[in-house]
């Protein structure tokens, strides 16, 4: 790689680092507002990454079929909006969202069920751990057998993937209420559901959101990977797998970029809801007691 490329690299990095440091110091000191500026920092960081990527791929002559420069990806992104949108609808709207909702709800429901009965807990948790570990890659072909090759089987894979993290976290969360908080409920002779709704579920909130956040990214990966195993000829996973075969690597990365943006937005929404719902937790209110 020629020298001026190295220099460009270092300059981009140093600039981004300084800028980000300054900015966050300013936010901390309160001289800049949190909202709005908060977004500038990750974007700056991301831009720095992109510049470095561009410089490295061009400078080191990385074959574009291995790793295309961001500029090529960007061009493809603009040129193929129709395809990208259709794939997004197929994968995100049809597979991810329903699968995520069902998987998370099922994990929550089973956690509560299991929590209710020590017998079930002793019986289901080991088996649940076992099932959860079935690599999705293995269940994807099976789900295609069972639910057909359209989005239903992908949603089923997403259900299977999101179920376990929700189960584990909720079970842990349901035990998070402190002894004295439970005692209080006992003094009211609160029944199981009252204790659940008014104490244990709220106390489990941080754990449940933990699972919701992890799942928001897992769901997308699951749906995309599942599309490698038999799909109609549309979908982000389909496009990625066939794109690699056709050496349309810039289209593949454009698709990945869409996935990253959609996934981050999904995560961001969940994180926002979390801040609203578990505002009381020390990790959200900055530990005020």
């Amino acid at each position: 790689m020629p020298l001026h490329h190295w220099l460009a690299l270092i300059a981009a990095w140093a600039f981004a680092w300084l800028f980000v440091e300054r900015l966050s110091a300013a936010i901390r000191a309160g001289s800049l507002p949190e909202t709005g500026t908060g977004l500038v920092i990750p974007v700056t960081f991301g831009l720095a990454l992109l510049v470095i990527w561009e410089v490295v791929t061009r400078g080191a002559n990385v074959p574009p079929v291995l790793l295309p420069p961001p500029s090529a990806i960007g061009a493809r992104l603009m040129a193929e909006t129709n395809i990208l949108w259709a794939d997004f609808v197929q994968t995100f709207i049809k597979s991810v969202l329903p699968g995520y909702a069902i998987g998370c709800l099922a994990g929550l429901a089973v956690a509560i069920l299991v929590d209710r009965s020590p017998f079930l807990k002793a019986g289901i948790m080991p088996i649940g751990n076992f099932m959860s570990a079935l690599p999705i890659i293995g269940i994807a072909p099976i789900m295609v057998m069972w639910f057909g090759f359209d989005w239903q089987s992908k949603a089923a894979v997403v259900v299977a993937m999101t179920f376990f993290p929700m189960l584990v976290n909720t079970v842990a969360g349901l035990n998070a209420a402190s002894a004295i908080e439970r005692d209080l409920m006992r003094t009211y002779a609160a029944n199981y559901w009252q204790t659940l709704m008014k104490l244990r579920l709220p106390a489990a909130g941080p754990f449940i959101f933990n699972a919701l956040k992890i799942n928001s990214t897992l769901a997308l990966i699951g749906a995309i990977v599942a599309e490698f195993f038999g799909t109609p000829v549309v979908g982000m996973g389909f496009r990625i797998s066939t794109g690699v075969g056709r050496l349309a690597i810039d289209l593949v990365w454009a698709e990945i970029a869409v996935a990253a943006v959609a996934g981050s937005a999904f995560y961001g929404v969940i994180a926002l809801i979390e801040r609203g719902v578990t505002f009381w937790h020390p990790s959200v209110r900055g530990g005020r007691a």
């Binding site: 936010i27 908060g38 570990a133 293995g138 099976i142 584990v168 998070a176 990966i221 990253a260």
Partner: protein
């Protein structure tokens, strides 16, 4: 006994359900076969037996899977390339290496994030974005790319495991390391404790429950990562490769056997993490 009984009950229920499903799902193909052979009005039990004995069933019966596992592990020399124990070991070593890397990376990132505003704001969104990259799409490129610089075998797989497993650890540890109450932090402030001291004396112990919950998810995902990585590189073996080749040849029984070994491995790993959690809890004076 009180721990075994519930498991057995649930297992029995599942088995019954499974056998029933096996008949149901293999029936169409069995009917085709029987029609071809000119068999008519096969009594139900005979039909069920046939459905549970197909060569390449849609859903293999439990005993078929069990006997395949038996044949492919106990009955074979462990060094044989047909042995699932051999392939299981390959996958396990990549899983463990990747999990160890991933947990460490996750903790390091979480520490950076909670101690430095700039890294919190700049790193976190990108860590999240990194997880939305479909790993199976990148895995072959990683394998190809690392292969070009001479890294092959265990390391590329472990890197992909790490890529998947560090995420739950970061998310959990950021939450956990931030979980101490204000008053607990204030106490250390009054001692003018250094950030390192605050970390080891307060944040780290307080984050333990979160760390273990994350590690349980992380190790299961780590195994998935190793399997996924194996799917991109048929050389070298591993459970993922068995899944793949099984699926080219329509060997559903082989697929299920490999799946169950993988799941069994994961369950054991999760159980080990759970055991470690109990032990640490005990050491930290948790209420019985």
């Amino acid at each position: 006994m009180t721990r075994i009984l519930p498991v057995l009950t649930i297992l029995l229920a599942l088995l019954l359900f499974w056998y029933a499903m096996a008949v149901h799902m293999n029936a169409p193909w069995q009917n085709t076969l029987n029609n071809r052979a000119g068999l008519e009005n096969v009594p139900f039990m005979d039909f069920a037996q046939q459905a549970w004995a197909q060569d390449k069933p849609v859903l293999p019966a439990p005993h078929q899977v069990v006997s395949e596992i038996w044949n492919a592990t106990i009955a074979l020399d462990i060094t044989s390339r047909r042995s699932l124990a051999y392939h299981g070991w390959i996958t396990l070593s990549a899983t463990l290496l990747g999990f160890a890397f991933g947990t460490m990376l996750g903790i390091v990132l979480a520490v950076a994030i909670i101690h430095n505003d700039a890294s919190d704001r700049s790193l976190m969104p990108w860590i999240i974005a990194s997880q939305t990259i479909p790993i199976l799409a990148v895995a072959p490129m990683v394998v190809v790319g690392l292969g070009a610089v001479g890294l092959t075998g265990l390391v590329p797989k472990a890197l992909i495991s790490m890529y998947l497993s560090f995420f739950p650890v970061v998310v959990g540890m950021v939450k956990g390391l931030r979980s101490p109450e204000a008053i607990q932090l204030d106490l250390l402030r009054t001692y003018d404790a250094s950030p390192v001291q605050v970390f080891w004396k307060l944040r780290w112990p307080a984050a333990m429950p979160f760390l273990f919950a994350s590690m349980k998810v992380g190790i299961a995902i780590s195994l998935i990562g190793a399997v996924v990585a194996e799917l991109s590189n048929a050389s070298g073996g591993g459970l993922g490769v068995r899944l793949l080749t099984g699926s080219y040849n329509g060997q559903t029984i082989q697929i299920w056997a490999a799946l169950f070994i993988a799941a069994g491995l994961a369950a054991v790993l999760v159980a080990i993490v759970g055991g470690a959690e109990k032990w640490v809890n005990g050491r930290m004076g948790a209420r019985a």
